[in-house]
Amino acid sequence: MKKNESYEEFIKGVWRDNPVFAQVLGMCPMLAVTNSAINAVAMGMATFFVLVGSSFLVSSFRNWIPKQVRISCFIIIIATFVTIADYTLLALVPTVHKELGAFIPLIVANCLILGRQEAFASRYPTRLAVMDAVGMAVGFLIALLSLGAVREILGDGALFGVKLFSVNFEPWVIMILPPGGFLTLGVILLFFNWFKFKKDEFLDDVAEAERRGS
């Protein structure tokens, strides 16, 4: 039972309540830094670190934080983790840090992170809060990576900087420009909603058949 509970919290963030595809949160980094797969991964990892770290702390201290100042406390905790991520990236991978630029400090303002603290971490035990954060962060990473990979392949003819096509491939430059982010995201969201629609239709059919059968 306990194991299932954690698994449930994990998988809901990855798929059913995916922060990007289902909740449409965190759109700012989603559209801005996904012009290559490596940037998407770096942003995903930074968000993962911040989200899991803050959820752990918020959940651990949830009984000590007075609810009148909870949002300020969450922001202090999140901002601290973001600063740590910022300096670590700057020290370890300066080139990626340069590409991401202002979007690393902006993780503080990512509504996905504050949303999870307010909606989940501040109300549930630490173990579940961490599982929830891991699930959401992995879901966010998958979303970033799928967008980044599509845009890099179409816009640059490469994946993780490795050229995939011969020199005859004409890069679809618009895909790595901002409009490309909107186009790709639109198509992916369309697919997700179509999938959900089909699933609901299928479940309705099953329910209908059962009712007739019984």
Partner: protein, 227 residues
């Protein structure tokens, strides 16, 4: 959740609220100082290495460098230049002979400031290399100013007399002309303008060819140890 609500049924005193935030701020401050202090050496080393690599790239054959600043109309070598002081770098070869200057320059591009470093040989009045240090030019278009190998190679022997001119691709006819990049005309013209402006600003401050400051022993030892 129910236990929480019971505990906080009566609003907590202001002192408790202030104290909570103060403690959170304090811990956060300590954590940030910690990470800043522990990453600072790596970050400074990275920046120094990046600069060294850029200088060696724009000045072929250079193995030593030192920072030079203009003090009272004279170019002098310094260990650590003041913060807002314009600096250029002198490049020297194995035999400690002066090769050329690596000049940092910056100016407006299409999106934001473009910062470049270019190698300049004063005796031949030639630009011998160009490297873009910072730019936010449009990916796929303006970013060709550092991704287009042909364009970058165009700076390997470019005369600055009377000034560099960016011309339409394929129409380069004299030593001071460079083929602009198709699809990145504004960015390539910006790079050329930045170099021209920096050259005009510095040319009166450079000593006549042959009397450049010699490389100092300490500087060499320092940079090599730091490699």
């Amino acid at each position: 959740m129910t236990t929480d609500t019971n505990k906080q049924a009566a609003p907590p005193s202001s002192i408790r609220l202030v104290l909570t935030l103060a403690i959170a701020g304090l811990i956060s401050g300590i954590a940030i100082i910690g990470i800043y202090e522990s990453t600072l050496p790596t970050i400074t080393a990275n920046k120094a290495r990046e600069l060294r690599e850029a200088v060696f790239k724009v000045l072929p054959g250079v193995t030593r460098m030192q920072a030079l600043v203009n003090r009272n109309g004279e170019l002098v070598a310094v260990e650590a230049p003041d913060k807002d002081e314009p600096v250029i770098y002198g490049g020297y070869d194995e035999t400690r002979e002066f090769v050329g200057y690596a000049m940092p320059a910056a100016g407006p591009g299409f999106q934001d400031t473009i910062a470049i470093l270019y190698g300049y040989k004063p005796d031949e009045k030639l630009v011998v290399g160009m490297e873009v240090l910072e730019s936010r030019e449009t990916p796929g278009l303006g970013d060709k100013i550092y991704k287009d190998a042909v364009w970058v190679a165009g700076f390997n022997a470019l005369s600055v007399e009377p000034e560099i001119v960016a011309v339409k691709k394929g129409t380069k006819s004299s030593a001071n002309e460079i083929d602009a990049i198709t699809g990145a005309t504004i960015s390539s013209k910006a790079v050329v303008r930045i170099i021209n402006e920096a050259h005009t600003a510095w040319s009166s401050n450079l000593p006549p060819p042959g009397s450049e400051p010699t490389i100092q022993e300490t500087e060499t030892a320092n940079t090599e140890a730091g490699q």
